[in-house]
Symmetry: C2
Subunit: 616 residues, 2 copies
């Protein structure tokens, strides 16, 4: 524990290192160590190499895997099934037509009659074999050109960006040195970072990976990160942490793909405005202070060497444009993933419920947007047994009348915790069956056999220790429920206010696209029942998953999507909730299950009426 903390790596320890909470479990992959006995960790896990960091004495060099660096999300959560199923209907194009191109050339040997310069000889062939006429060259490539073109008797491989005004060479290698060129799509979330390694020849996603944003130890949400950044050296620290996060993920995907990070020539990055400011070490303070002015909306094209990304130093880094301080490139890129912009006479709502919640309403002709501070509850953050949608997460759950819980675990192993979709299900079931009341408080008589006083307050037992992966009870506490209500309330009230501000009613919305880190599925009925989503026809709802990442990927596939994203950013009208007096009223009304105004949720009312009848 001391060694890990000394390195500045994030590791929870609720009990303060007494060996009782079990938070600090790590996997020791190599090396000898002495362990104190601990009742918290089952023998089965100890035998597999798991240990509590706070109860482990180092007696050798160790290779230790922290839970944060374990694979965070399963592949089917990182990839958006919605986008893959609706390729033709989404607003962005799915055509693969990137600016990055790659070509093998065979330069004829120079003679006294044909002794043009090395660069001219390359350029001449490029003009012959491509549509472009004028090629620029970075200094790093020029520097080795004389050797490169002679190493394999003129057999070379040229990688370039085929821009309309001028083609820009990004690398020239001897032909045998390079086989494939790769791109990176990356979503930098406040809580989670996820990326794709993409083969730029055909657009195939070769590998995916995700992990926690290592900045999380400096604050769970945007505002606390900005606060943290204000002390000397802290802004650079935050940049270092996001670089560590992304560079480790790049290492992971390139190792798995058996390739080199030097062969990655472009990255498309989406993230909220604050995350991109921190990525670029830009002062984020004015995002937080009225009148909320970010440094940029449209980020200039950068190079990997500018910020230290582990890829080819000349690689191009594109960040999706922001609309304002609280609606960022994650949303503008995400908009590519829905049919919203294709629809002229149909108004849709787009809801991205991440650590920050962002809402967009509109159609092909107009777009309105706003943001709210939701918190990371649906991504498993701030919830006692919350976790991301990875192996061992309870992703679906139901409660029978008899009080028996049925659940489904990702990968079918013993459960480790609950991911977003599981939490929505659990809340809805507890509420429907009267185990919690409209304030989110436990109905003790109804649930007495499953409720107990834990060190985290009143807790509802989901699964007992002996049946769980970590050998610890999986519970949901009253505090967890309160957090989840705050989160769903923030999102719902923002939706409601946004529509009111354009004079629309929820019923005039003809499609709702839900994005966020819930997991593979989101049970819409349950989400409505807890008041997260409005009570509309169920077939209007579409779960998009991580639209920010899918959008970044679409941008990587085609320059056309890049232009469209810029257009979207220009087009969106941003409403500032921070200075909107009606927002607090809306929010307060949402802090009940499903809402203070039950008329807004007729289907939930109906369910309760039928329950009441049954009990009569």
């Amino acid at each position: 524990m001391e060694a890990i903390q000394h390195k500045g790596l994030p590791l929870k320890a609720s009990c303060g290192g007494k060996g009782t909470c079990g938070d600090c479990v790590v996997l020791i992959k190599e090396g000898a160590y002495a362990k104190k006995s601990s009742a918290v960790l089952p023998d089965r896990l100890v035998n597999q190499g798991y240990a509590l960091a706070c109860q482990t004495l180092i007696t050798d060099d160790l290779i230790v895997q922290l839970p944060q660096f374990e694979e965070l999300l399963i592949k089917s959560v990182v990839r958006s099934e919605f986008v893959e199923k609706n390729k033709k209907d989404i607003s962005g194009t799915y055509a693969h037509d990137p600016a990055l191109k790659s070509i093998a050339l065979n330069l004829p040997q120079p003679t006294l009659e044909d002794n043009y310069s090395d660069f001219k000889r390359v350029e001449r062939q490029l003009v012959q074999h491509t549509g472009s006429k004028d090629f620029s060259l970075p200094y790093s490539v020029l520097k080795n050109l004389a050797h490169t073109v002679r190493q394999e008797q003129g057999q070379i491989h040229v990688t370039y960006f085929d821009d309309p005004s001028q083609a820009s060479i990004v690398n020239i290698t001897p032909a045998s040195a390079t086989e494939r060129v790769f791109g990176l799509a990356c979503d930098i979330g406040t809580t989670t970072v996820a990326l794709y390694l993409v083969d730029m020849a055909n657009g195939d996603i070769i590998e995916t990976a995700s992990s926690l944003n290592q900045q999380i130890k400096c604050g769970e949400d945007i505002i606390s990160r900005i606060n943290y950044s204000q002390k000397p050296g802290h802004l650079k620290e935050l940049q270092d942490l996001i670089m560590i996060t992304i560079n480790r993920l790049i290492e992971t995907v390139t190792q798995r793909a058996g390739t080199s990070s030097q062969d990655i020539y472009c990255a498309s990055i989406s993230g909220n405005t604050t995350m991109i400011h921190l990525l670029l070490t830009l002062e984020p303070n004015y995002i937080r202070e009225e009148p909320y002015v970010p440094t940029f909306n449209r980020v200039p094209l950068l190079q990997a060497k500018d910020i230290g990304l582990r890829m080819n130093p000349e690689a191009r880094i594109y960040c999706a444009p922001s609309v304002g301080s609280y609606v960022g490139g994650d949303i503008t890129a995400g908009m590519l993933c829905t049919p919203m912009l294709k629809e002229a006479d149909k108004t849709s709502l787009f809801i991205d419920a991440g650590t920050n919640g962002e809402i967009v309403a509109g159609n092909r002709d107009w777009l309105m947007t706003c943001a709210c501070s939701a918190g990371p509850a649906f991504e498993g953050g701030g919830i006692r047994c919350g976790m991301p949608a990875s192996s061992g997460a309870i992703e679906q759950i139901s409660l029978s009348e008899s009080g028996k819980l049925n659940y489904k675990v990702i990968n079918g192993i013993k459960p480790k915790g609950l991911c977003g979709s599981g939490l929505v299900d659990l809340m809805a079931e507890l509420f429907t069956h009267g185990n919690i009341d409209r304030h989110g408080k436990f109905n003790a008589p109804k649930t007495r056999d499953r409720i107990y006083h834990s060190q985290n307050g009143l807790a509802f037992l989901v699964e007992e220790a002996q049946n769980t992966f970590w050998g610890k009870d999986i519970v949901i506490t009253e505090k967890d429920i309160s957090n989840l209500i705050l989160t769903k309330g923030a999102v719902f009230s923002a939706c409601s206010l946004l529509l009111k501000s354009v004079g629309l009613d929820f019923h005039e919305i003809e499609a709702l696209y839900i994005a966020g880190g819930f997991g593979r599925f989101l049970d819409v009925d349950n989400a409505i029942r807890i008041g997260l989503l409005p009570d509309l026809d169920r077939d209007k709802f579409h779960y998009v998953g991580n639209s920010s990442l899918a959008g970044a990927y679409l941008i990587l596939r085609s320059e056309q999507n890049k232009s469209l994203t810029e257009e979207i950013a220009e087009k969106m009208t941003y409403i500032e909730l921070n200075t909107e007096p009606r927002y607090m009223n809306e929010f307060t009304g949402s802090l009940f299950l499903p809402h203070t105004d039950m008329d807004l949720f007729p289907s939930v009312q109906k369910l309760f009426d039928s329950h009441t009848k049954e009990s009569i």
Copy 2:
């Protein structure tokens, strides 16, 4: 001497540190030292702080000025009088219309109603105040933008390149931080480096400076530098040396101008192909080896930070394009300084007699060029008492029938040595008066009272020790004369062959433009008399001076000149003398005074005839 050599700085010491040659004289500007007695240095100089490095013991921290870092050329030599007098007639435009622009802006304070991003706010004002619509921004400027725009309540200063496709911001500072923006024109010669500091607002030359190319200790000409570069680490060493040279000159001019090198935003560099390869650490070996292929002709636009030039890191570095391995940007830039390209039905000859000699023949419709290895004799290199055209150089000299020498010294002080124009005069006078014969050998009886055997062989006394600045005889040796004959022979034979190859005769040339490091003047009669220049009507000759530097300066003034230089490079047809069998014949014929074929020099023949008559 040891300390200087340890630092790798160049300092001659012909006598091997015995204190007898006086080559290693330095100026000690600060600090205490002990000196051994030396007869070589006059007391007057010792009292001024001059010392022989090899006879000086260090007893304190010293600040020492090496002769190589002394002001090399006087201002009127660095600037081209020809270009300044013929602004309207030269091929390049003298209009000041650079891409680099600078503007003061006053950003209105952001409000909740107008809370666009910092960059957008800057861009909005830029669009209002300039003709451009789209602005790019480097990462280094973006990084501090939030602070920059707030430091002086929105009063800022923006420096940008106004390119046709997109305007590129290069710096944004608080308004009070920057007053002026500067540019640099720089000529990198094999022997001499010279530059201008230019006020980019109006194109005025604020300061000039020049020094020896510090690479000189690694070889005096191009081929020996390339040979030197082939050992491990030597290419980088050569780059370091040219960087030291240029960066010291930049320091000199910025200190004198009372400005910061950070305010220099663009540089226009001209140099021969090898010099530019060494500047950029590009492998120069293939320039030397058949089929003589350089890495580039057209150099991509670089940034100061790429190569480590002491200016704003984002500053643009433009290098004038080459034609081939032996005709470089010094020539293409130099062509801007003559009317050659304006003349349609008049064929001109352009001769640049530097360390390498380059010749161009042609007019508006066609241009032919070739190069020869001339050696640095006319720049004072390889000549016992040769020196650049700086304070103390004998720049004009004449010999009376009685054998009395009359000379003119730059700045009117005691003479230090002979610059190019003085050497041409001296050779011509010695030859005309029969002190040397057609082979360049001394006619002993004729000159007996001025000829003696020195440690450098037979020497002709120009001025005796007691009347010279350094208190040492100023002489010209038979070896010096032989070197000068090789140099003039190389230049003349190249001119002759170039014209023959296009079927022209010298008499068909209607104007000759002479460039090179001779000094302020070049006596055309004398240059013809020694066979350096062809025997044509005197009013056809124009002495341009350092046309490479003047051309680099014209490029700095206007993008139009940049395009024209690129056009010139494309247009020129290069003839390779290295593989031309007739060249050796031509060259051998030129190794006499003035030439083996006296019919080529009728005016010289006439002079001799009249002399002969007189003596009869």
